[in-house]
C-alpha cells in the first residue's frame, strides 16, 4: 500500500494504475519499481499541503528549464508530442499513449536571434527552436498548426536541423460549411497516422474516446477555475491562475485534473484579498505567454477577471461528443464551439466585438492588452480592438512584451498609471 500522506504520490500512482489497467499502455513502463516513485514533480507534497505549497510546486515545475516531467516520461520509455501554440487536438496523441506537451509556456530557452533566425521575429518561435537546438527538449513528434507566417516556417527549419519527425497541421480558416469539417476530419486522420507511425500503435475508436473524456474533464475543471477567478478575483491572482493552468502543458491531463481537483476546494476556502484594484480583462496572450514577472506586475494593480492566457488549452468551449466517430466529433467541436484568437479567422464573429462582450459578461472596468512584439496576427488586431473598446466606453491600456524580457519597469509604469487614473484621479477633489 502506498503511503497516503503524499497527495502527489497518490495521484501519480492512480495515474499509473489507470495506465496499467489499460493493456495498450503497459509497454510504456519498464520495471514495476517505478510504481513507488513520484513520476512528475520530482518531489512530493504532503496531502495536507497548503495552497501556497502547491502553487510553489507549480512554479518550480514551470520555471525548471530542465523539463523534469517530460524527461522522466521519456526515460521511462514514453513518447512525447511537442506542439506549437495555439490549439492542437492533444486527444489524438494522448490516445496513443503520448505525453502531449504544449511548447512555449515555460521560462527557459534562449530568445536570442541565434544563428537560425533573423532579427524581426517573435520570441516564441525562437524559443521553441532553441529548446530543441540546445537539447533541452526533444519531442518524438513535433506538430505546428499553421497559425501564422512565422510559425509556418518552423517545420522546414526543424526538419533541416533535427531528425525527429515534424508536421504542419492545416487547421481550416474557412469554417463555414460542411466541407471544412470533412476536410478537418481528414486532416486529423493524417495527424493520427503520423502519431501511429511514431508510437507504433494503431488508434482505435475506444482509446480516442477515452482521451476525449479525460480532456472534457480537464476543460470543465479549467472552466471552474476561471469562473472562480471571475467571481472572486481577490482569491486568485492572475499569475497564480496562470501557474495552475500552465502546468497542464507539461503534465498528462489525468494528473492535471487531479491537481485542479485538489486546488479548487482550497481556493474556495481562501481569504479574498481586499485591495484597491481595478477589474480588468487581460488579452493578447493567446500565443506567446507573458513572463511571470509581467503577470505579477499586472496583478499588483489589477484584478484580472478574465484572460486569454493559454487559450489553446481551453480552446473548445464545451464537451466534445463521446458518440460517433471521435475524429469527426473533434472536428465538429473545432468548427462549431471554438474560442477566439487572432490566428483563427471567424466568418461570424470578430475579436474586437467578442472582447467587448467579455468585458460586460465579467463586469470588468477596463482591458489590459498585452501586445507580443513582432506578432503579426496579434498586432494587426490592436487598432480594431482598441477602437471597439473606446466606442463601448471601456478604457484600455496596451503593453508590449516578449517572453524573454527581464525588466518590468515599463509595464509597471503603464499599468500603474492606467489603474490609478481609473481608481482615484477622477472622483475625489
Amino acid at each position: 500500500m502506498v503511503d497516503d500522506c503524499f497527495v502527489k504520490l497518490i495521484f501519480v500512482v492512480q495515474t499509473i494504475q489507470a495506465f496499467l489497467f489499460d493493456p495498450a499502455r503497459q509497454e510504456c513502463y519498464g520495471s514495476p519499481m517505478s510504481l513507488h516513485e513520484p513520476l512528475f514533480f520530482g518531489q512530493t507534497v504532503p496531502c495536507d499541503a497548503s495552497l501556497e505549497q502547491m502553487l510553489a510546486a507549480c512554479r518550480d515545475l514551470l520555471c525548471d528549464t530542465g523539463f523534469p516531467t517530460v524527461k522522466r516520461w521519456q526515460e521511462q520509455g514514453g513518447t512525447v508530442l511537442g506542439h506549437f501554440q495555439v490549439y492542437v487536438p492533444e486527444e489524438i496523441a494522448h490516445a496513443a499513449g503520448m505525453l502531449p506537451v504544449k511548447l512555449g509556456c515555460t521560462t527557459g530557452g534562449s530568445n536570442q536571434p541565434g544563428a537560425h533566425f533573423g532579427s524581426y521575429l517573435c520570441s516564441v518561435v525562437k524559443q521553441v527552436f532553441s529548446l530543441a537546438d540546445e537539447g533541452t527538449l526533444r519531442p518524438d513528434l513535433f506538430v505546428v498548426p499553421s497559425i501564422c507566417d512565422a510559425a509556418r516556417n518552423l517545420p522546414a527549419i526543424w526538419s533541416r536541423n533535427f531528425s525527429t519527425p515534424c508536421r504542419t497541421l492545416y487547421l481550416p480558416q474557412n469554417c463555414t460549411g460542411e466541407a471544412a469539417e470533412n476536410y478537418l476530419q481528414q486532416e486529423y486522420a493524417g495527424f493520427a497516422a503520423v502519431v501511429s507511425e511514431v508510437t507504433g500503435r494503431v488508434l482505435d475508436t475506444e482509446s480516442v474516446r477515452r482521451s476525449i473524456a479525460v480532456y472534457n474533464r480537464n476543460r470543465s475543471l479549467l472552466r471552474e477555475l476561471y469562473a472562480l477567478k471571475s467571481r472572486e478575483p481577490g482569491k486568485l491572482a492572475v499569475d497564480e491562475c496562470y501557474l495552475l493552468t500552465a502546468v497542464g502543458s507539461l503534465l498528462l491531463p489525468e494528473e492535471h485534473n487531479r491537481l485542479l481537483e485538489q486546488v479548487l476546494p482550497l481556493l474556495a476556502l481562501r481569504q479574498s484579498q481586499q485591495q484597491d484594484k481595478i477589474r480588468v480583462v487581460l488579452c493578447g496572450c493567446f500565443c506567446e505567454q507573458p513572463p511571470l514577472g509581467m503577470l505579477e506586475a499586472i496583478a499588483r494593480s489589477c484584478h484580472v477577471v478574465s484572460d486569454d492566457l493559454l487559450i489553446g488549452l481551453r480552446w473548445l468551449t464545451g464537451d466534445v461528443a463521446l458518440q460517433g466517430d471521435p475524429l469527426a466529433a473533434l472536428a465538429h467541436a473545432y468548427c462549431s464551439s471554438s474560442s477566439y484568437s487572432p490566428v483563427q479567422h471567424d466568418a461570424q464573429r470578430q475579436g474586437a466585438d467578442l472582447l467587448v462582450q467579455q468585458v460586460k459578461q465579467h463586469g470588468a472596468q477596463a482591458v489590459v492588452i498585452t501586445a507580443p512584439k513582432m506578432c503579426e496576427p496579434g498586432l494587426d488586431e490592436l487598432v480594431p480592438v482598441v477602437a471597439a473598446l473606446t466606442a463601448a466606453g471601456i478604457p484600455s491600456c496596451v503593453c508590449e512584451f516578449e517572453q524573454g524580457m527581464t525588466s518590468f519597469e515599463l509595464v509597471e509604469l503603464q499599468v500603474e498609471t492606467f489603474s490609478e487614473n481609473i481608481l482615484y484621479a477622477g472622483g475625489q477633489s
Partner: protein, 425 residues
C-alpha cells in the same frame, strides 16, 4: 548588363499604368473591384465574371517606389498601427484611412475580397477591409505541404482530400461571385482566361530558363520585377499573352547579341533569395550592378507570381475542376518556395550557375524572411558558395540603412573577386 531588356520594361510600365488608370476611372465612377492577393488571386475566375481586379500588394510596392509610402505608414502609425506589422498592410490601411486617394490616382472600394491562406497576413489584412467596408470576404483555405520531406502528389489519397476541399471552396466562391454580379458563370470565359494564363506561364518559364545559361539575358530583380507586375495584373488576358511573347522574343535577341559581342568582364552571377527593397529599388540593384553583380535568378519570381512561373497547364476542357487543381498546385508551389526555400536553394544555385547567393530578409514579411537565415546555413553546409545576408524592409525607408548595406555588399564583392582571382576553392 550590357543589353538591358528595355522594351519589356517600357511595355510593362505602360501596361501597369493603364491598369492603374482603369482602376482610377472605376473609382471616379463609384465603381467597385475585387481585392485579391498575388498568391491565389483567382484572376481567371474574376475575369470570367468581369469583376475588375485590384491587387493591393502591387499598389503598395508602387507607393514605396514613388516615395508615397512613408506618409501612408506614418498616417497608419498615428492611428495606432504598430511599427512591427507587415508594412504592405500598414501602408494600405493608411491609404484607406485617407480616402483611397494617392497623389496620382484614386482606387475603387472593394465589392469582394479574396484572401488565401498562402500568407496568413492576407486574412488579417482583409479583415481590416471588412471592418471598413463590410463587403463579403472569402477566406480560401489552401493547405500546403505538411511534411517537408514528403509533399503529397496528385494521386495520393491526401492530395485527393485537399483537392476535394479546394473544389468545394471554388464552387462556393463561384456562387458568391454569381450573387455579387447577378450572372451565372460562363465556363467558356473561364476556359479562355485559363488558356491565356497557360500561354503566359509557359512563356515566363522559358524566359527564366534562358537565364540559367551564360550569358544571362536579364536581371531577375530589375526586369524580373517588370515581368511579375504584368503577370499578376494581366493574368488570364490576351494582353498578358502578347506581353510575354514579346518579352521572350526580346530576350532571345539579347542572347544572340551577347553571344556575338561578349562582355569585357563576365558579371558575377547572383541568385537572389527574399524580397526586393522597394523604397530604394534602383539604388539597391545598383549597389550590386556597379560592383559587377547580376541577379540571374530570384526566388521572389516564384512566390510573387503565385507559383505561376512554373507554367502549370490548366485543362480548359474542365475549367472549374482544373482551376481548383491549378490553384492548389501553383499556390502550394508558391508556399514551398517560401517555407521550403532552404531545401531548394542548393539545386537553384547550381541550376543557374551562381557565383554567390544574396539573402534579403525584410521586417515586414515574416512569411518569406523567417526561414532565410536557416536556409543560408543549410546552403552553407552543402556548398562553399559565398552568401550575403541583408536585412531591411520592402516598404519602410526608416528601416533601411544604406551605409550599412553598402558596406556589407562591398565586403561580399571583395570576397567574390578574391575567389575569381584565386580560383574558387
Amino acid at each position: 548588363m550590357t543589353f538591358p531588356a528595355v522594351r519589356a520594361k517600357i511595355e510593362a510600365t505602360t501596361l501597369l499604368k493603364s491598369w492603374s488608370e482603369r482602376l482610377d476611372l472605376l473609382a471616379q465612377q463609384q465603381g467597385t473591384a475585387a481585392y485579391a492577393f498575388v498568391m491565389g488571386s483567382c484572376a481567371e475566375l474574376l475575369a470570367a465574371f468581369e469583376i475588375p481586379l485590384f491587387l493591393p500588394e502591387i499598389n503598395c510596392l508602387q507607393t514605396a517606389i514613388s516615395g508615397a509610402a512613408q506618409g501612408l505608414l506614418q498616417h497608419a502609425e498615428e492611428q495606432g498601427y504598430p511599427s512591427d506589422i507587415c508594412n504592405y498592410l500598414k501602408a494600405d490601411v493608411g491609404m484607406h484611412l485617407q480616402g483611397r486617394q494617392l497623389p496620382d490616382k484614386r482606387l475603387p472600394a472593394p465589392c469582394l475580397a479574396i484572401a488565401t491562406t498562402a500568407c496568413n497576413t492576407y486574412i488579417k489584412w482583409a479583415e481590416i477591409w471588412q471592418r471598413l467596408y463590410n463587403m463579403p470576404l472569402f477566406v480560401f483555405d489552401i493547405p500546403g505541404t505538411r511534411n517537408p520531406a514528403h509533399p503529397s502528389q496528385p494521386g495520393d489519397p491526401a492530395f485527393a482530400a485537399d483537392l476535394a476541399y479546394m473544389t468545394e471552396q471554388v464552387r462556393n466562391l463561384i456562387s458568391l461571385c454569381e450573387q455579387i454580379t447577378g450572372k451565372r458563370l460562363d465556363p467558356d470565359r473561364l476556359s479562355h482566361a485559363l488558356d491565356c494564363t497557360n500561354r503566359m506561364g509557359q512563356t515566363f518559364r522559358q524566359m527564366l530558363a534562358l537565364n540559367q545559361q551564360e550569358p544571362a539575358c536579364f536581371d531577375a530583380v530589375r526586369q524580373g520585377g517588370a515581368y511579375l507586375g504584368v503577370f499578376n495584373a494581366y493574368r488570364g488576358s490576351e494582353a498578358g499573352v502578347r506581353y510575354f511573347s514579346n518579352a521572350l522574343e526580346e530576350l532571345q535577341q539579347i542572347r544572340q547579341r551577347s553571344l556575338r559581342e561578349p562582355a569585357v568582364e563576365a558579371p558575377f552571377r547572383l541568385l537572389f533569395a527574399g524580397l526586393p527593397c522597394y523604397p530604394l529599388y534602383s539604388q539597391f540593384i545598383r549597389m550590386f550592378s556597379t560592383r559587377g553583380g547580376l541577379f540571374v535568378s530570384s526566388t521572389y519570381l516564384q512566390f510573387a507570381s503565385g507559383g505561376g512561373c512554373m507554367g502549370y497547364q490548366y485543362d480548359t476542357a474542365r475549367p472549374v475542376e482544373s482551376f481548383a487543381e491549378g490553384l492548389l498546385l501553383t499556390t502550394r508551389e508558391a508556399m514551398d518556395s517560401m517555407f521550403l526555400a532552404g531545401d531548394r536553394l542548393f539545386e537553384a544555385q547550381a541550376a543557374c550557375r551562381a557565383d554567390g547567393v544574396v539573402f534579403h530578409g525584410v521586417k515586414s514579411c515574416r512569411t518569406v524572411s523567417t526561414g532565410l537565415a536557416d536556409a543560408r546555413l543549410a546552403l552553407q553546409s552543402r556548398s562553399s558558395i559565398p552568401t550575403l545576408l541583408l536585412e531591411s524592409d520592402m516598404m519602410d525607408r526608416r528601416l533601411i540603412s544604406p551605409a550599412q548595406m553598402q558596406n556589407r555588399i562591398d565586403a561580399f564583392f571583395e570576397t567574390l573577386r578574391l575567389r575569381r582571382q584565386g580560383g574558387a576553392p
